[in-house]
Point group: C2
């Protein structure tokens, strides 16, 4: 990779919420920017559960990174996989080349954690990528197809039992959406089974669901889930996951479809840098989001950990990543321009949203608490607004309007997946 005259070279690894916001903020800055991602597209993760439950198509929530950044004349995009970072030589190692940097931003996100049981992964897929979502979609739809032809009533029952492990917002949204898919969209499509008899369990090891919300709001959401036909269980610790189902607090539940929404662990950034990490693999960063001892290396989003002013670690959510991305780009821009440095990063709490089915949600923004339809409209508007790309916004609005009126799911495709 040739050097660009005297321009400093900024390398951004990861084009999720954090990396993309940083790249956007660096437009027009006198630097050469290289964005590296192993995927060609930026993914709007909050709506992945909709792809997993056949409500939206993958391309509705994804956009090619180089297309988003095409008007950033100082920026190029490489689709490649990072294997390590040579901190001393200031180079990023890819599969078959090295990229030198003056400033490095690692925004590589998180992946699933199976609490020291990596063997559970093949029975209980998580939801982090488009492939994860279509894999889960295929599992769910195939379970109904197989049940339609299954003569044995015990096996049929297991096919029509769906378990979601982990009752944070992702688990709650998945469980609510599967319940609606089974109890509404698929209701008249079968002749030998009644999809409305499908059993959806949401298992949470902690004392309550939606622990990041206030108790009252979380309780309202739980009631809404139960109205949708989801059985939520708290204090339910998963002890085993296999092809037949799960073992929960000593009880065996036969379920063909188990989905993992329970734990995250950071990407390999800490390993690449050869530094210490917390239990989830996150790198502890300075108040200005740099790696201790290396003011030219920034780490943001789910791969970093930083405490807020109250001493609580910042959550691994999109608004945090986006604000951090914008912040570090501003820090770099000021340094490049020789200006006075910015103060430490300060997160402006944008609140918390979770949706339960088609028309119920809970929203918490500092002291303001909303639930029900009003919260759901808020959820809808926020997600449409932050979705990148005019075309995507129109398509998603139409798909949702159609689904809302007809109770149908438009993307009920079973396609062969990777390795199958």
């Amino acid at each position: 990779m040739e050097k660009h005259g005297h321009l400093p070279h900024v390398v951004i690894v990861g084009a999720g919420f954090g990396g993309l916001k940083a790249a956007a903020r660096l437009r027009g800055v006198p630097a050469h920017v290289t964005v590296i991602d192993r995927s060609n597209h930026h993914l709007f993760q909050p709506l992945l559960y909709q792809v997993a439950t056949a409500g939206l198509s993958p391309a509705d929530i994804a956009q090619p990174i180089r297309n988003i950044l095409k008007r950033n004349e100082n920026t190029e995009v490489l689709m490649d996989e990072v294997t390590g970072v040579d901190v001393a030589a200031r180079r990023v190692r890819l599969a078959d080349r090295e990229v030198p940097y003056d400033y490095l931003l690692l925004a590589t996100g998180a992946t699933h954690s199976y609490f020291n049981h990596p063997e559970w992964e093949k029975f209980a897929p998580g939801l982090k990528s488009i492939e994860d979502a279509t894999t889960i979609r295929r599992k769910i739809l195939l379970a109904f197809e197989a049940a339609e032809m299954e003569q044995d009533s015990e096996k049929r029952h297991a096919l029509l039992t769906f378990v979601v492990v982990g009752a944070g917002p992702t688990g709650v949204e998945l469980a609510g959406s599967i319940a609606e898919l089974a109890h509404r969209a698929l209701a008249s499509d079968f002749r030998h089974i009644n999809p409305q008899g499908a059993r959806i369990l949401l298992l949470e090891a902690g004392p309550r669901i939606l622990a990041s919300f206030s108790e009252k709001l979380a309780a309202k959401a739980r009631r809404a889930l139960e109205k949708l036909g989801v059985e939520a269980r708290t204090g339910a610790k998963v002890e085993q996951v296999d092809a037949q189902g799960v073992l929960v607090s000593g009880e065996r539940i036969a379920a063909r479809t188990v989905i993992w929404a329970a734990g995250v662990r950071a990407s390999a950034a800490a390993r690449w840098l050869g530094v210490e990490a917390d239990r989830a693999g996150r790198v502890k960063v300075q108040p200005d989001l740099t790696l201790p001892g290396h003011s030219d290396i920034f780490i943001i989003g789910d791969t970093a950990t930083l405490n807020d002013e109250a001493g609580k670690p910042l959550p691994g959510t999109a608004p945090v990543a986006m604000q951090q991305g914008r912040y570090v780009a501003a820090v770099m821009a000021r340094r490049i321009a020789g200006k006075k440095p910015l103060g430490p990063f300060h997160y402006v709490d944008k609140g918390n949203l979770a949706t339960v089915g088609r028309s119920y949600a809970i929203a918490e923004i500092r002291k303001l608490r909303l639930s029900g339809f009003v919260a759901w409209i808020t959820w809808l508007l926020v997600h449409i607004l932050y979705l990148i790309g005019f075309r995507n916004r129109i398509l998603v609005l139409i798909e949702w309007a159609w689904a809302y009126v007809t109770f149908q799911r438009g993307a009920r495709l079973i396609t062969k997946g990777p390795g199958s």
Copy 2:
């Protein structure tokens, strides 16, 4: 499978254009109908090339079969694979069960033919299913990504060379669409390559492209292709296909992406029935579309061959399959009702359409010949009309309107495919 009282049991294998039209026509008929397909969705094949060139999402052109037929109370849908037919016992063999029939309709379509070179298939995918389309899409988009990072100019040139083998409507539509993708949609997205320099070749072994159209119209289409930047070559026989490209009439063309649109061969129906087939594996059927000697077995669409009144074999197109599907269902309905039998099948020529890029097409309906924008509007209306599902029609219209105005392609996703 239990018998349904005294109702005759109609089994339809294949839910493409032919099978689905037959099932639709059998609604309300006093029979029990079972539709069997190895896929859960009905696919609108004429628009597959749009998925392959990142213009539409798979779910825009597919619809779950059991959803289409859900209001047919006498009909059930099984997602399973047929392995054979026991003609004497009148049973269809599936993976792990048998389905008895009183009337059997085989509408299983066609697959690709590599002219006795099955080893070419892994280098030159065809376009018959959603998986085919996303595989081709991935190949095309990855070729540009790899070219962006390729330092060696010869390798880069091969990455930016695309070969389509076979210049029937499918090959022409694919080549034109790839040309537009490269020369318009991707034009500003790269920094080290110029996608407008991509080379698209369309190879036809015969003396002219679009042999099923009149010479003048085909010549117009060829000029339109050349204006789009496609190099069409006739009398060009492919002698070898491998990982580096193709060997055509003695000349080596280095191309990373080769797509097969050159030959079809029928599904395994003839083998299942243990009967003779023509060179392409099609079963020669009676004038009433039954298997000779078996008036309870009907074969339609690309898996059958029948001559029209002029002695020419009917083409393997959607209108033929649809009319045959409706006809055989009517034959069965009349027999079940004890009515006088219908006459032989008569195909009403609905004409021929092929599109070249965004706003040019050729259309031939008996003596009427159209070309250019008028033909393209016709093509658009016909395809929207025949697309199943109100939601799909709206989405496709919007995707096309957006693409038309912005020159962009909305479904530019690279996802991991089967076995990768």
